[in-house]
Symmetry: C2
Subunit: 82 residues, 2 copies
């Protein structure tokens, strides 16, 4: 099973790339640092609920919608023993 | 509008009390410190996604279910200008 911060990081990268956005663009839209986005996408930081709300809003999602996507990613990859 | 960590803290307290649990019991079930639970419930700490997963599991909820309850609480209290 993936750790929550890994599932989050991979989900964040997928959502960002689906928009065709660079890390810089996402950072700007969410009011966060580009280097922090990079650490989050690699699962090297565990986002707080405040960061989750900011990123969801930047991506045009509600916080519960983002939570569903993260949880789905974690369960899907958990079954493959990644 | 409530801040995310305030909405989370108030939701956590409601969920804990609905189970008739003390902060000590919730801390034990979630593998966290009692003093940290107290800070979270008062909105004085912003939980990470790892903490959100631990607390959801301790309360018998999925992470998306907990996210829905937090978001609902935030929106409900936002309308009352709390």
């Amino acid at each position: 099973m993936l750790q929550p911060e890994q599932a989050f990081g991979e989900t964040l990268r997928e959502l960002r790339m689906a928009k065709g956005w660079s890390q810089e663009t996402l950072a700007f839209e969410a009011g966060l640092d580009r280097t922090y986005i990079s650490l989050l996408e690699r699962g090297q930081r565990s986002p707080t609920i405040t960061t989750l709300y900011s990123l969801a809003a930047a991506l045009g999602l509600s916080f519960p919608d983002l939570a569903h996507k993260i949880d789905h990613h974690m369960r899907r990859h958990g079954r493959k023993n990644h």
